[in-house]
Symmetry: C2
Subunit: 164 residues, 2 copies
């Protein structure tokens, strides 16, 4: 199973693709971030997110997209901005035929580090270890996106084990 | 000049297309709303907004999209939901090659009714009068979208007059 994790943000939208082999081993495929220039018109920034995510999906063929659920934001303005990017990311995955699954930030940290209140650096270190990377994925948003993909794989594996 | 006005909402996203003839007369082209079922997965709802707006743009050939700016929301959760739809609407217009212009709610009411604190019913009545409609556009979101399109035409006309 190959999973695209997406970590939405106003300036950087991280992405990471992880494959799980039949024996359970996790394989790093790619990661990075769509970088948006705040001086570009908003509609062009959103179109860039759409175009880059679509190109990534067409190149890597993930079978599912995993995205962080957002339940709060520091204020309505930042929630609106985050929502704009998040809406485009979800719609793009759906337009490419991918099911989209959301995970709470606590669930992502629990699945990757084993502790819902883990620090960002702990998540990055665990992502490196689980994917056998020699350096932390750059930018940090890419590591977050890989963590979301790993969360989906761990959750899917748990659900499959429960079913058996 | 032909303008697509878009009024984003979580359940109904209104749209309205208005053309201004060289003599300044406003002509109603079409209006309506994308209706979203809250029981459908979010990504499918967002894809529906994208597909229906794209089909509308391809059918009506507007030269510009006008959308309401949002500066506040009752809470971060509703701002996030509104942002998701708004991001998809803006990205769709940009993907179809349209410039996207934003107007504050006060500017829309001022441009249509001449009074920034006008009631919703006053806006609807003025939209009917300006576009010579025999019945109010349904649903109300369609009337709001037409008002945004009229706002753009009035503002563009004002800017052109100032330049002359």
């Amino acid at each position: 199973m190959r999973v695209l994790g997406i970590d939405c943000g106003g300036q950087y939208t991280g992405f990471g693709v992880v494959e799980q082999l039949p024996d359970g081993e996790l394989v790093y495929i790619t990661s990075g971030a769509v970088r948006l220039k705040t001086r570009d018109p908003l509609c062009e920034r959103l179109l860039k997110v759409h175009n880059e995510l679509r190109a990534l999906i067409e190149a890597c063929h993930p079978g599912v997209a995993a995205i962080e659920e957002v339940f709060y934001a520091s204020n309505a303005k930042s929630a609106l901005k985050l929502g704009e990017v998040r809406g485009v990311a979800m719609m793009t995955a759906a337009a490419c035929g991918l099911p989209v699954v959301g995970y709470a930030p606590l669930a992502v940290k629990s699945a990757v580090v084993g502790y819902g209140r883990a620090e960002k650096t702990q998540v990055q270190a665990m992502v490196m270890r689980l994917l056998k990377l020699s350096a932390p994925p750059e930018p940090a948003d890419a590591a977050d996106a890989l963590a979301i993909a790993i969360c989906h794989l761990h959750t899917a594996a748990t659900l499959a084990a429960l079913e058996r």
